[in-house]
Structure formats: structure tokens, C-alpha cells
Symmetry: D2
Subunit: 146 residues, 4 copies
């Protein structure tokens, strides 16, 4: 017998593994719980902006995927999820060895789910929040791959 969480975790992990962009970034799906997901992104010089910090777009990308997958853990079995919109505040320069994007479902609905997420820069075991997101995710019938 499979537990609810395990089934949802499998669904999230299968979808994540198909997001080529996450692989391109070097992102790893580290935690999947009901209503919450963590994605980790190691620093890489290939992801930087003009001052050598992680580009806001790279941070935003993992926060977006984390929000989407947090919503997916609470979606019906015959649904997948799409980002309707997201807003992110960049709180500090994204300097660190690795970045953790942690998303939580704030309000789950049948069609729309609202998620919040924070991104932390981790250096020498210390965490510092560098960005925060508020996003709207939509559940849609599973569509055939493009």
C-alpha cells in the first residue's frame, strides 16, 4: 500500500525530472511534502549577473518550480499545474555556495492555489534569506506532452 504523500512525491519527482531547464540550471529537488517543496541550486558561474551574484532570473526560476510543485502535491490526480503569475522580491545579493528555494501552499483551491516561497543563500552552514515569492498556480487537466 502506498501512502498519500509518497504517491504525490512520485508525481512531483517525475515532473521535475522532465523539466530540462532545472537540469540546465543544476537544480535538485531535495524535499517533497504535502503542501511543501524544497529545491536546491548550487552556485555556478554560469548563472551569474554582471556582478558575479546569482542572476535574479535563476533564483526566480527555482522559486517558481518550487511553488508549482508545492501546489501539485495538493492537486487532484488527473490534474497538472501551470503558473498563472508570480511576484518575487529580491531581498539581498544572491551570494552563497548553494541556494534553497522553499515553497509552501498558502491556500489550496480546486482551480487556483496560492503559494509563498523563500530563497535562502547557504554559506558555511549559515542561511540568509535572499528572495521571497507570492505566486498563483492553476490546476489544469493533464495535457499531452508537446
Amino acid at each position: 500500500m502506498r501512502s498519500y504523500v509518497t504517491k504525490h512525491e512520485e508525481r512531483v519527482r517525475q515532473s521535475f525530472s522532465k523539466q530540462a531547464f532545472m537540469s540546465t540550471l543544476g537544480a535538485e529537488l531535495t524535499t517533497v511534502e504535502q503542501g511543501g517543496v524544497e529545491i536546491r541550486l548550487p552556485f555556478s558561474p554560469s548563472l551569474t549577473q554582471q556582478n558575479g551574484y546569482l542572476h535574479a532570473g535563476a533564483i526566480t526560476s527555482v522559486l517558481d518550480s518550487a511553488c508549482g510543485y508545492a501546489a501539485l502535491t495538493m492537486a487532484a490526480d488527473d490534474k497538472e499545474v501551470l503558473t498563472v503569475e508570480l511576484k518575487v522580491n529580491l531581498l539581498a545579493p544572491a551570494a552563497g555556495e548553494v541556494f534553497a528555494a522553499r515553497a509552501q501552499v498558502k491556500k489550496a483551491g480546486r482551480t487556483l492555489t496560492v503559494c509563498t516561497a523563500d530563497a535562502f543563500a547557504i554559506s558555511g552552514g549559515q542561511e540568509k534569506v535572499v528572495a521571497t515569492m507570492l505566486a498563483t498556480i492553476m490546476a489544469v487537466p493533464i495535457m499531452p506532452a508537446k
Copy 2:
């Protein structure tokens, strides 16, 4: 004698060339005018989400850089720019051969500049809007590279 626009264009192009992440994405800075910037991003299977469309994070990343550089064209010479926050609505699946992110300054201020941007998917010469952004950019004294 160098024109105002040319000097600003040079500044934007120099900064863009230092954004390793734009190069990783395959993005190209196509147009720089006073108060407006276009960045183009060819479709690549390495930038996709689970259904084979461009990942929202990739679209958001080029929109973010476009907004930042639109603001930079109107910033004082001794300033550079950072994204304070951005909001993006994904309007349609990002399917196309190439994507154009076009940003305009909505209101330029000494410290904060507000920009809007649209992303268009281009296929067979036809354009379709796929995302729209509203972002706040901050001018800060030029900082030494990390």
C-alpha cells in the same frame, strides 16, 4: 562626439556581456534605445518545462534583464541597477521558435524606476504575447565586481 543614446547603449551592452546567465540561456541583446530594450531568446530543449514549452523561469529571466537594462538607459552615469521586485503573468504556453522580451520604462525616478515588459513567441513570422511583467528597478552606486 558620442550621442547620448550610443553611450547608454554601450553601457547596457557591456553589462549584458557580463551576465553569464544570459549567455547560458542563449539570449541576445537585440535593441537598446533610451527607455527601451529588446532581448531575444531562441527556443532550446534545454530551457523547457515538463511539457516541452519554455520554462516560465527562462521567460521571466529575459524579461527581468530587459527591464533592468531599460532602466539602466535612463540611470545616471555613476549608477548601476538592481531588480527590487518583479511580477509576471504567464498568458499563454511559451511555444515558438524564438522569444522577444521587450521592456519599456514606465516611470523613471532618481532611485526607483518602474518598467513594463512583454514577451512574444515568434513562429513563422507571427508574434503572440506569452507573458507580461511589471517590475521595480533600483539605481545604486556602481559596486565593485564580486
Copy 3:
């Protein structure tokens, strides 16, 4: 025979007339077109913040209603609209004799419609943009009044 626009305008005007809050603010629905709405709000000392300018919340409220009604002009006959989320940038102190909130549909969908809106302060016949909004509106089956 009634034209399409007229039918939609009537629907918008009926709903607006039931928004007691618009009446409390002193707001007036001035223009309704397919995909666009203008609401005007005269300055009043009862709507101010601590420095005597119009409170951001008052400006945001009329921008929100304008976005919702712009979306309603393109909704199916058996639907009404609710605001899913909105983002507003305050661009300048809201000083003026009257304020015009003008909303346009950016992308109309069956369930979700994205609107943009600008608020202008009008003084001595001159207009100045003071705020801009990007909002997501949802069409839902008409619900019975509370």
C-alpha cells in the same frame, strides 16, 4: 435589437451600482467599452493618507474595480468576475482634483483574464500618471447575492 457593447455596458453599470464601496469613495463609472473601462474618483479629504494625498488604498480600489469591469465586458453572459490578485505600483504622490482609473484587458481567457490599468491625477486639465496595475481576474458562475 441591442448591440453587444451596449449589453455589456449595461451589465457593468448594474454591477457597479451595487458596489456600495464605490459610492462610499465617490467614484463614478465614466466609460465602458469592450475590453476597457474608466472610473473617475474626485479628490476628497476623507480619502487621504497622512500627508493629505489620496491614500494608495483608494487609488488601488478604483483601479481594481476598473480591471474587474474591463474583464466583465469580455466574460460570458452567465459569468461574473472576481479579482484573483492584483499588483500596483505607486508612481507619484496622488495629488489632483480628480483621478481617472483606466483599465484594459491584456489577455482574455475563458477562466482567467489579465488586465492592466493606469491611474491619472487630473489638475487644471493636465493628466499625470500616478499608479499602474497588473491584475488577474477570474470568471465564475453568477452567484446569489450574500
Copy 4:
């Protein structure tokens, strides 16, 4: 001798008392702590939208003031605060006897402070979250009243 919190609370209460719009809405400043503020808004038929629920603009207005004042509790003595931008997600119909808007500082900076806030509908002693905000507040030199 006056404590730090008390001095800040006084500053917030003085400013709130000058926001005529809060008085027009019937809002009350209930709690001021360092980095956090609660404003309460009793339901009133004068604040409703077309279905008899509280208008999103009324909820947004008290969330906005709560965010601004949360930021003010951490601002330098010679500064006041202005809302740069805000984003709000409406999570449920705003039905209740009274609404509590609770804001917290997420990241305090010298110029920009980022706040989050939730609005709760309270009925029969039960609380239900109805909206959530993410806002950017700017500290500016105290300006003369208009």
C-alpha cells in the same frame, strides 16, 4: 525614560490618526510592535462589492496601511514611509463581522523594506485568512504636510 517600542508606537499612532481614509473606512489600529502591526476593520455595508462581501479594495487598503506602519516601526527617526508597490492575493470571499490585517517586516533596509501581511475574517470568534500581501515600502525624509 521611553522605551524604543513605545516611541515607535507613538509615531505610528500619530500617523495613523492623520490617515483620514482609515477613519472613513472605520479602521482601528489595534497592535503596534517593533516590526509588526495589526489594523482591524469592522464589516460595514458601505464597504461592499456587488455580492455584499467586503470590497477587495477595502481589504487591500488596510493591508497596505498595516504594511506601511510595520515598516515605519523600523525606520530611522527622521524618515517616514511610502508604499512603492504592493501585490495582494484574494484567497476567499471577505465575509465576516470584523477583519484583521496583520503585517510583519520581512526584510528591513535603509531605503526599502519588504513586508508581508495577511487579512483574516473573524466571525463568531473563528478566524479565516481571506487575503495575503507582499509589499515594498520606501523610507523617505519626512515631508511637510500637503
